[in-house]
């Protein structure tokens, strides 16, 4: 048996090598460009073109209906002294920090729960992810009714727990926290799905030995699950950050940035500048700075990950 294989093996390898070269020769001329070109044209038209045009516009003083005049970086220099813009940056940062932290904590908790086996798990997971798939405007409408100070169901629920009623989105101090509540309700499921993916990849052995050693559920989570899901938490934080910074539908439909400008984020202010005042030159400068801010925040998150070795923690555990 072994002699036979040994005798035949060289011949076989030769043919295999021949086939590989033959394949390579035939394979090379095959170009995949024709598959990609139509998409490239569309991407050029709807993604690249708007970007180039935006940068061009940002260097011009241009209101819709008037002729553009080149003003260099004047639009950018206007930004630091625009109190409404500066304020909107602050709102955006607060809104984003809360809208990343809360779904991250609750989503991880939800993932730990959904990582257990229980009857109808798939069905409940489906119900649980409904908030993030449902049409944001439709949801915002119902939340607005729930926030109603006199007739809203939320103040009724507070009264059941003996808590004083709140003005929710109708008071400057509580507007952003109330919107974050909606955002958290909406996006906790996404964090859950990502973290659940991480949890289900962990082998069962560490859990079994932890159980034998008498570890509490918290210890098991803290020393086994958490290090392993760190890379997934990072991805969830990144996606959440990008979406929270850009959040528009919910804020626009519920408060429109109000009361006053208490919940006006950069995106909401951008909408006003572009489509209420039609100051497209200035709006374009805001777009560029806004994008730079998002990239900077993403970079900061990446830096944070390297500082804390989130990835390596997964490997060493």
């Amino acid at each position: 048996m072994s002699e036979l294989t040994a005798g035949k093996a060289p011949a076989k390898t030769a043919t295999a090598a021949e086939i590989t070269t033959a394949r390579k020769e035939q394979w090379r001329p095959i170009s995949y460009w024709p598959f990609v070109i139509p998409a490239m044209i569309v991407v050029m038209a709807v993604i690249i073109f708007p970007w180039v045009y935006t940068i061009w516009m940002s260097l011009h003083e241009w209101k819709v209906g008037q002729a553009p005049t080149f003003v260099g970086f004047a639009n950018y220099l206007r930004l630091p002294s625009d109190a409404r813009f500066v304020e909107s940056v602050g709102h955006t940062l607060v809104y984003t920090a809360l809208s990343v932290a809360l779904p991250l904590i609750l989503g991880t908790l939800a993932a730990v729960i959904f990582n257990n086996k229980f009857p109808l798990r798939g069905f409940f997971r489906g119900l649980f992810i409904l908030p993030m798939m449902a049409t944001p405007v439709a949801i915002a409408l119902v939340w607005t009714m729930m926030f109603h100070p006199q007739l809203g169901v939320l103040n009724y629920l507070l009264s059941l727990f003996g808590l004083p009623p709140s003005l929710w989105v109708f008071h400057p101090a509580t507007a952003i926290p109330s919107l974050v509540l909606v955002e958290t309700w909406q996006w906790t499921p996404l964090v859950m799905l990502i973290v659940l993916g991480g949890l289900s990849a962990i082998p069962t052995e560490p859990y079994e030995s932890a159980q034998i050693d008498g570890a509490t559920p918290w210890q098991t989570f803290r020393y086994i699950s958490l290090p392993m899901i760190m890379p997934f938490l990072f991805i969830a934080a990144m996606i959440r950050m990008i979406d929270a910074v850009k959040s528009f539908d919910i804020i626009f439909a519920i408060t429109q940035g109000g009361p006053g400008s208490a919940s006006e984020t950069i995106n909401l202010y951008l909408y006003s500048v572009a489509f209420v005042y039609y100051d497209v030159g200035y709006a374009s400068a805001i777009v560029v700075v806004f994008f730079a801010l998002i990239v900077a925040l993403a970079g900061a998150l990446l830096h944070l990950r390297q500082r804390t070795h989130w990835n390596e923690a997964g490997g060493s555990a």
Binding site: P38, T54, A134, Y156, I239, A274, I294
Partner: protein
């Protein structure tokens, strides 16, 4: 005993974490089925004694509801179909050329706020004289649907084996035949995922419509938003309209849950 306590704790935590999602939609349903007097009562009426189907009838019979419904169908349908026609081959090409780095454009598209596309494209559509038709919305929805489709399809084609395609090439098949008869059938489940997510995100889109849609070209999310100013105080019809708009998405989520989860996490993890 400890096991029992753990289980009890788990059940309690499960109820706490799942109930906001479930109760919200039940409350939405309750609002949409009540007469105004019940919707305006305090303490709130949770399960109504009499049901008012009239809220739904009022929405469906309202003047332009059907127009808006068909507008949404046309915009979402065209944007998704077109994204599939160009996005599936693109995903295939990028995966086979191992040019994943080129997907950075898609990443940029993902990061950029939707409003940023609106300013330049709005001016372009105005210049082309397309405002007032559905074209601007169909075209701008491609900003949402094309990246989703390409992104998901790259992932799928990267995991499908090359051997079959290589032997088909040796047998003299053209690259189009290989794509059509070998690669495409294997990637069918991936196409389903791309289709479902593309439909949902296009259907839900609001920001493009508020700027580009006129009175006759509104999609449902925009139409529902516009109802607020008119019907400030009648919650029943408003809730009914909100539920009608989002119901197709909710049903799709429940029935195609596995594909949705696969698509969302695949995009996230890679």
């Amino acid at each position: 005993m400890r096991d029992f306590l753990n289980k009890l704790g788990l059940t309690f935590a499960f109820i706490v974490i799942v109930s906001p999602a479930v109760l919200f939609f039940l409350w939405m349903l309750s609002l949409s089925l009540k007469f105004e007097i019940d919707n305006a009562s305090y303490p709130p009426v949770f399960i109504p004694e009499r049901i008012n189907w009239g809220n739904y009838a009022a929405v469906i019979e309202s003047k332009r509801f059907m127009t808006y419904f068909f507008n949404t169908l046309i915009v979402t349908g065209s944007a998704t179909l077109f994204a599939l026609i160009i996005g599936v081959p693109a995903g295939y090409g990028i995966a086979r050329m191992r040019a994943r780095k080129s997907a950075i454009v898609i990443l940029i598209a993902r990061i950029t706020p939707g409003l940023s596309y609106l300013i330049p494209l709005f001016l372009l559509f105005q210049w082309l004289g397309l405002l007032g038709t559905l074209w601007p919305q169909i075209i701008i929805h491609l900003v949402v649907t094309v990246p989703i489709v390409i992104w998901i399809m790259i992932g799928y084609f990267e995991t499908t084996p090359m051997e079959l395609e290589e032997s088909a090439i040796i047998d003299g098949a053209t690259r189009w035949q290989v794509f059509r008869h070998v690669a495409l059938p294997i990637a069918r489940s991936g196409i389903a995922v791309a289709f479902i997510l593309s439909v949902i995100f296009s259907w839900n889109n609001f920001v493009f419509g508020i700027v580009l849609a006129g009175r006759e070209t509104r999609t449902l999310p925009v139409a529902v938003y516009n109802m607020i100013s008119f019907d400030q105080l009648s919650w029943g019809p408003l809730a009914a309209a909100a539920l009608i708009v989002t119901l197709p998405v909710l049903l799709l989520t429940m029935f195609a849950q596995r594909q949705i989860v696969a698509g969302l996490t695949a995009g996230a993890v890679k």
